[in-house]
Amino acid sequence: MFLSKYLDDFSFEEVLDNYNFEFICQLDEENFVNIYNLLKKYNFYFINDIIVNYLEIFTLNYEIVEQGILSLKEKLGDKFVYIIGNDMRYLNELLD
């Protein structure tokens, strides 16, 4: 399972606790890496938390996620990453 390459043991265990095995298996690694790098590009410092709590985001289309991030930036301002770090519920808007 490729996820273990991107997560420490504790976080990987959390992912296994949080999601059905079938869902984890069907993740596309290439898409996952693209989204991962996209989040890094925008300086998200809590990508592990996003993987554990919002893994569905890594199944989305790259453009859609980027559009969502830019919408959040417009809504929350330049410090949007910190604001989201303080309240990750904003990430639900990427899934809507």
């Binding site: 079938e22 869902f23 993740l27 938390d49 569905e56 519920r89």
Partner: protein
């Protein structure tokens, strides 16, 4: 009581005040010197109570007074205030009495109490209690009097604020304005609007001519505020608040009574012009206009607005969680205004038959109803720019058939129409061609791989082999999952039939674990999981468990300002910065086994 004139009583009260620095005289306090109790003295307490009753009668018509004491004059009021008179003493202030009224309401479900009802706890009669019946009746009188002319700021009519009015309405105290007063207020509002070009009336704006402040005038500000709220009521609301006559007045001569509805008023005006020009309101969905009847690419999208009014109309009988869209249900005022310009919430009878004929010709010609987007036609099967939009009509029929599936039908389609639609392949249980097609691909994938673990970007034409030019099956699977969980308000929920078909190929709808455990845990700590599931489902059970335990251990509250404590939603790094503890430490140190308590809670 021995007769003394008012001034003599006042002197006695003055002595009490000088001695005690207040005028909170016990009701049975008797005295000869004003401040020492004397069983044989004058009942000063009783006199003070009479002054309060006299104060309550200020500006109240004789027929509406609840006690026979003549109203207190202005100079006497001033003199009493100078010696610390509290006309609403101790606990008898507005908020306290409201609290009692609220308890009555919570107990009996209404505030229709007898005027002589007295109570100490709000709902049980107590002859020595507060005159709650009188107080409630007074509020009704005060409200009515707000809208009568020549109201001064004195006495008991002293300001029933908008906040107080809302509080009273929340416990269903019946507050009505006399019909004639209401009509006069409407006329004044019209004058205000004619003068200022808007209805941004300040809350305490009183007037006699509509646009100039007059302290002896009627409170137009409160009326405008009240009417704005009432105007949004729908035909389903228990108490619409406006009489039929008042609704007719508003509809005949609409004023922009809603601050946020100026846009609606503007679009309505355009729709009205369209109607006056064409004699109908069959506005094409893409029709944009500035003057109401001529197409203008840079104008307002009138067609879309009309369609949205239909949607709002359909939302009238639905509770908020049943609605599939964001539109507020159409208020009765707006409904009537649109009715005046012959708004149809479904197509006209004649029009339906015409469109059906076209659809039938298309079906006979092509063997299906896969009509391209924006397909317009005159003969049914050939595109014609000047023709009718067949695609739009078919979409509407499908929607109506689908609504009838979930018992939310507005009965636009009778049995005859349903039968006719069936002959051209549209049935009440019909699945769209596209959905059926994608499902077949998913089924082939399942039959080939033994599961439905379709990678996100998997495209295919045969269901199991990747094809760059094929349909994106991965995204379609995800879409079904979202529709099942109603995760997004933008996606139509999955129908029972679709769920059943997907279950036959082992579709996993819920990608997350431990939902029931989280629900049980939340129940234990007074968290309504359903209300917060959109956010709480993202947490692992361990994280949720540990954070709850941590919060309680640290003496914090699960709820802050009626919202879940933000700690639940912090990232690990933010958590460490705020609380000095990482998520891992929190789980290791605070995770607790609540199973025994959960079981006990469930059994109870």
């Amino acid at each position: 009581m021995d007769y003394m004139n008012w001034d003599e009583w006042y002197e006695l009260a003055q002595k009490y005040y000088e001695h005690y620095k207040n005028l909170l005289v016990p009701s049975n306090f008797k005295t000869t010197n004003g401040y020492e109790y004397d069983e044989n003295g004058k009942n000063l307490g009783n006199w003070i109570v009479r002054q309060r009753k006299a104060y309550l009668n200020i500006n109240i018509p004789k027929s509406q007074r609840t006690n026979p004491i003549p109203p207190l004059s202005e100079d006497r009021e001033i003199k009493l205030r100078q010696i610390g008179m509290v006309f609403r003493c101790g606990k008898e202030n507005w908020e306290y009495m409201y609290g009692l009224a609220k308890k009555y309401y919570q107990h009996y479900g209404n505030t229709s109490m007898d005027i002589n009802f007295k109570t100490k706890n709000g709902y049980e009669y107590d002859s020595k209690g507060y005159c709650l019946g009188v107080w409630v009746n007074q509020q009704k009188i005060i409200y009515n009097n707000i809208f009568k002319e020549k109201q001064s700021d004195r006495g008991s009519t002293k300001k029933l604020s908008i906040k107080h009015i809302q509080m009273l309405k929340a416990i269903e105290v019946e507050l009505k304005i006399d019909e004639e007063d209401w009509k006069e207020l409407y006329n004044l509002a019209q004058k205000y609007y004619d003068h200022f070009g808007n209805l941004l009336v300040p809350e305490n704006f009183k007037t006699t001519n509509g646009y100039e402040y007059d302290s002896n005038g009627i409170n137009l500000g409160i009326w405008v505020h009240e009417t704005r709220n009432l105007i949004e009521k729908t035909s389903n609301d228990k108490d619409q608040g406006l009489t039929d006559e008042q609704i007719d007045i508003i509809v005949s001569n609409p004023l922009p009574l809603g601050l946020t509805d100026m846009k609606w008023q503007m679009m309505y005006d355009l729709a009205k012009k369209y109607y006056e020009y064409y004699g109908n309101l069959l506005v094409p969905v893409t029709f944009k206009t500035k003057n109401g009847y001529e197409y203008d690419e840079t104008g307002e999208n009138l067609g879309s607005w009309i369609a949205n009014q239909r949607i709002a109309y359909r939302n009238v009988p639905l509770a908020k969680n049943e609605r599939r869209n964001k539109w507020k249900p159409l208020s009765i005022i707006k409904f009537k205004m649109l009715e005046k310009i012959e708004m149809k919430y479904c197509y006209k009878e004649g029009n339906w038959e015409v469109m059906y004929d076209l659809a039938k010709k298309y079906y006979e010609h092509y063997g299906n109803l896969r009509v391209p987007a924006d397909f317009k036609t005159i003969n049914g099967y050939e595109y014609d720019e000047n023709g009718k939009n067949l695609k739009e009509w078919i979409v509407i029929q499908k929607r109506e058939l689908s609504d009838s599936d979930s018992s939310k039908s507005n009965e636009m389609l009778d049995d005859n129409k349903r039968e006719l639609l069936e002959t051209i392949g549209l049935t009440s249980n019909s699945l769209s061609e596209k959905w059926k097609f994608m499902y077949l691909l998913a089924k082939k994938y399942y039959e080939h791989y033994g599961n439905l673990q379709v990678p996100t970007n998997f495209k295919t034409t045969n269901g199991y082999e990747y094809d760059e030019n094929g349909e994106n099956l991965g995204i379609w699977i995800r879409y079904q999952r979202n529709a099942y969980s109603k995760q997004s308000s933008k996606i139509k929920p999955l129908s029972d039939k679709k769920i059943e078909l997907l279950q036959q190929i082992d579709m996993v709808f819920d990608v997350r674990k431990d939902k029931e455990k989280k629900e049980d845990l939340c129940k234990l700590f007074g968290i309504e999981y359903d209300c917060y599931s959109k956010y709480l489902k993202n947490l692992t059970y361990k994280e949720l468990n540990s954070k709850i335990t941590y919060i309680i251990s640290e003496g914090m509250s699960v709820f802050v300002n009626n919202r879940l404590n933000p700690i639940f939603f912090m990232s690990d790094i933010n958590l460490q910065a705020a609380y000095g503890i990482s998520k891992k430490e929190m789980i290791n140190n605070y995770f607790k086994d609540y199973d025994a308590r959960v079981k006990k809670n469930v059994l109870e």
